[in-house]
Symmetry: C2
């Protein structure tokens, strides 16, 4: 190879879910909850660890909860709700979080979220908001997931005295593939994308097009431990990652409209 670039791919990775994580309530201090759970389990964070935190507990701690009883749906929301067979109040909340509707059909409402994510229901979730709730509350995405990730990173670093990364993850559907996969809504302290263009391959030729969705791959890996049906394991520590690229927030994962191949 002509350059001195060395692969930073680790030979091994360990992923561990924090056990016995408590149910999160609005206003809870997530840094304190995560630190307490790590200490209870004897997990001492190390330099380079990446904490992957489920969006739901971040949203709950930030009190991103809307009481549907307080929502008055617009005529537009009522019309969309009829087409997609959802609660008009929920649709009103979804549309208030969205720039535009990408696709709608019965049981499906895919939007461009105000932050640029193309996703179902703007990430608004009726499930798991609370016990005996009957679906009368909606949980929105964090106001600014990159800011939330950065706050968690700063707080956990101060608490543990090590350099860590934080990813806030969620599960997204995809255009042409079945099933949801974990993706990074927000990231701090690590490169959400890594641009390897221009690096030589094993035979010295320049790689053609290799921008890696690094934080999304980490988010997907952590989702394997979190599951989707409960909140029992909303924090996963990934150990063994190494990177040399500069830190980039989760917003770097959103493809600019001008680059979008699929509009």
């Amino acid at each position: 190879m002509s350059s001195g670039a060395k692969p930073l791919q680790p030979a091994s990775l360990q992923l561990s879910a924090l056990p016995d994580f408590p149910l999160v309530q609005p206003g809870d201090d997530l840094v304190a909850l995560i630190a307490a759970a790590a200490e209870r389990s004897g997990m001492a964070p190390a330099d380079g660890d990446v904490f992957v935190v489920a969006q739901k507990i971040v949203s709950k701690a930030e009190n991103r909860i809307v009481d549907l009883a307080s929502v008055v749906p617009s005529a537009h929301a009522i019309a969309v709700a009829a087409a997609v067979r959802k609660d008009p109040r929920l649709v009103e909340v979804i549309l208030s979080e969205s720039r535009r509707i990408v696709r709608q059909r019965p049981d499906v409402l895919i939007v461009e979220h105000r932050l640029g994510f193309v996703m179902a229901n703007a990430g608004v979730d009726q499930s798991n908001v609370g016990p005996a709730d009957g679906g009368e509350h909606a949980l929105l995405l964090p106001e600014d997931p990159d800011r939330s990730a950065e706050a968690l990173r700063a707080g956990l670093q101060a608490r543990f005295g090590v350099r860590i990364g934080v990813i806030i993850n969620d599960s997204f559907g995809r255009a042409w593939r079945r099933g949801t996969v974990g993706v990074a809504l927000g990231a701090a302290g690590l490169p959400a994308v890594i641009d390897k263009r221009g690096e030589p391959d094993l035979f010295g030729r320049t790689l053609r097009a290799t921008v890696i969705g690094y934080a999304d791959e980490i988010a997907a890996a952590a989702s394997l431990l979190m599951g989707q049906a409960d909140e029992g394991r909303p924090v996963v520590i990934v150990r063994g990652l190494r990177w040399s690229a500069e830190a980039l927030p989760g917003a770097a994962l959103i493809r600019p409209e001008a680059e979008d191949m699929f509009r």
Copy 2:
């Protein structure tokens, strides 16, 4: 909860790349190469391990190599090549592997592969085919990645006497997100997708829409160890996964046209 469904999410996962994997040549016996590398490194496969194998080495072992000097591009391939600024012979090979062009623009050619994958260049790769090749050969996807995965699974199970899963992975771009992520082209011995619809959530409500792209999440996790710039770590063993759903091949990850939200 009304049902006895238990989460199968593991509390921890370990991912290990097989070290010192040799360069793969056409006709090589991948089962023998993988088994030898595992034995050299002292890694004894256990029940439930998932072997993630990079598409490139499967394609090479299966001799899915085309000498571009032997390719005569059609008029259509020449026209597309001019539009996308690629070698017309390479475009001829790409189109021969494709059902249709999804998007084309300078430096970008996204197609629907004959197996249904929507991906750049039908997965045809000019890089890393061999030393001092000058890009004069193209490497195609395996003829049938699910069949390749099943052959590896059967061979490795016979060799090691344990029940394992196999995923053949590659890196795909995405419609609305920057960066490539690992996905499963083929899978055997595990559920490529897991349908959790109908399971109750933590509060007893039925989950709305949760089909999980399980093999894609595993493929993405393994990509973190494989990297993209070399073939040094083309096999990753994932330990700790547990599943109760029936095995489904990688083809289950391809969204049927009728379900496609984005055409």
